[in-house]
Amino acid sequence: MKLPRLDLTPQRIAGLVGVAVVVIAPLLPGVEGVQLSIFAGVIATAIAALSLDVLVGRTGQLSLAHAAFLGIGAFTTVNVGGRGAPWPVAILGGVAAAALAATIAGLPSLRIRGLQIAIVTLALQYATEQYAFKNQTITAASQSLDRPGFMGSDTALYFFACALLALTLIVRWRLGVTRAGRALLAVRDVEGRANAFGVEPGATKLLAYTISGALVGLGGALLAFKNAPGTLTSLDPFVLMRSLLLVAIVIVGGTGSGAGIIAAAFFIDGVPQIFESVGVPFTHVKLELGTYAPLLSALLLVVAIVLQPAGIGGVLQDRLERLRRRGQDPPSPRPRLVDLGAASDAAAHLRDVPRGLSLTMPVRALLEAKNVTVRYGGVNALSDVSLEVRRGEIVGLIGANGAGKSTFFNAASGFAPTTGSIRYRGIELLANSPARRTSYGLARTFQDMGLVRAETVTENLLLSQTWLAKYPSAAGLLALGSTVRAEADLRRRAAVALELFGLDHLAGERLGDLPYGTMRIVEIAAAVAAGPDLLLLDEATAGLGPEEAHALGDRFLALRDELGLTLVVIEHHVPLIARVCDYCYCLESGVLISEGTPAKVTADPKVVESFLGRAAAASGGGKP
């Protein structure tokens, strides 16, 4: 058997060095028990900051109550454990209590996406301090938590802390590679459209608060055991100032960067405790590092947010990335030419997905719209439009700007207030949510990109398949067997779809770094990866050069002929319409003015007039 070759990227080397430092630290000469206990406290701070980062990084929301959550976790652990419960139960109690408190603080996010939510957490921080932490019954003044035997020495406590830190990092990592984490990014960046991927925005947002709360609860439990036997004697780690310092750690460390945040936690929280004063060599000057470190960290926070918003982690990532790419040319940001035959064969199984609809009744028209009207205020964006899309056809939808083409897509996919009837395989769509329509086999692209630009191409293709990832979010975080298989399957599908569009060499690139035309093709690939029967493409060729548009036309034909997809394309590029479309509709000011074969529609005087004006139509002035 051949062992898999370990891909030693600079990132991995740095990670291994980090782990080695952590393991060797207690064995170093001069490190004593007290210092290890301090380290354990710093690790608790790091866990709190890492959990805050889940919220800041994945939802764009700030919590100013994480110190309070830390305290809630700690005091619950003391209360539960102090009454004789075994230590795992005590920890679970702390985790659950903190998760609950955080979820309550997140409730307003169901109604708004404003910064006001940060004020709720600020009020919660103060209320918890005033009401709970000053109440001796709650702070368990009479309870005494004992350390379990295996945590007896400071060295053991330190390794226990490391284990909790590792658990936190694993949960963060799993969040990033499972449906929950992707759903969060979709809600953060394209909330209004996340539905189309099968993402439920409300539940997703609360989940972020719950996970963040649970993790900070873990840190609280650690603090409780650090101070055992006994209860927590000092409230210092749980006050408002600490909440603000946690934000400082996250920003200075860099959102999304575990290593950066741990480093910042060590500097901001650890250094002042370990080196209270440091003598400057060869002088008699003593630097009061312990007293000035917090002040310095506040200054660092302001400087970081203005000059280096990516923090330590961002700088680190940048350096390592440059190291990895040294000597290599950056990949061409354009789609490659691929052998469409082979790629389509590989992609043929993409549509073998469990449909949300058991019906297989043969109907002539896959999509049948009757008297569809969309009204915004007093304006009819679409009035009384009836059209049909037959199975296995490419249907073109043309019309001048503002004709209502995109509005029709919005009506069909569930993003516009619609009256009339749109039937898909005989089923009325209008009563169903966008997510449900996706599961029926409908997929679409948006004129202005409905994907997450801050993420990689592959991540976006996984995101579009969220409706296929049916496992519960919690199971994903725990990496239960079936979820790992499901994720592997999604990745395979993503790779196949990328191959089909000649984008496989860009799989690891950040979407936002690619040229606009390429981004649009990525969006089509993402829609195809979701395994639809009917694909609605809104101005697919915008931002593409003539050859690229031509190549895209070939792919449309491959999607129809090899994969058996039905396509509706909104297009301005008339040669493309003429080449690929089987049938064509033209809209003007929300009204259907012409239909038929592309040749017939583009020659229709009404269509010419709509595009070029009356005079041109009268003089027979060319095709639109």
Binding site: I112, L301, I305
Partner: protein, 292 residues
Amino acid sequence: MGDLIVGISSGAAYALMAVGVVLIFKCTRALSIAQGEIGAFGFFVALRWAARGIPVVGWHIPAFMTLVVAVLIAAGIALIAERFVMRPLVRRPPLDALIATLGIALFLALLELQVFGTATQYATSPVGNWKIVLFGATLVAPRVVALFVAAGVAGALYVFFKRSKFGLAVLATAGDPTVARVLGVPVNQVYRFAWVVGGALSGIAAALLAPAFGGLTPFGQTTYALRALSGAVIGGLDSVWGAIAGSLIVGVLESLVGAYVSAEARSVAVFAAVLLVLLVRPRGLLGETAAA
């Protein structure tokens, strides 16, 4: 009735900060949580100068001058913060601006801790030590002055927005900074104006609140800023009148809960009120948009 009056006077003091919060938010889209600490720092310095004299010169400033000095220093800090921290962030996501104000608050509070220590600073009232009795409630001088100043600020802002050209420029910037800039509105001046006025109000609030509430501590004023922010959120972040109304609601709520439930429950009541308003009416009582 007496509790109501006391509550209104506290609310008026919170309103001074809340108006600053809303003014800055309207003009720059930045939600500032530094409105407590900016003023507190100014008043800390003023109190120190009153007690030990201005460094180098050695003049001891009289009590009434502490208010003026606090306002000047607070406005100065706001001016610097606007120019070097907030303005570079104008085009960035609003979360960055919020975090920057957090950094400013943290920095000022830690600096206070470093320079003035953890002990509560006794704060002499800059407006005298008289008191009036109204419906059974005893109001000390700073509270009475806070009421009048808040009313005065509200009136001045009303006239400012209705009558002055610059007031119109501020409203235009609040509406759409890009369009305002194209139309020739001096947008940077509007940003500076919002921060300086916000800072000055923060200074007045500190100089009036600290004597009435038993002294000044690092981070202490931030807990009052928290009430002002809660008031602003309750009233609607984009409405000056909402901020005043919301702050009065917070003040009265605290006073009544303190009198009839317990002192500790006040903070819980404020939290519950903010949570409830955001769940039921996310844009606040008088706000126009929910977006931040």
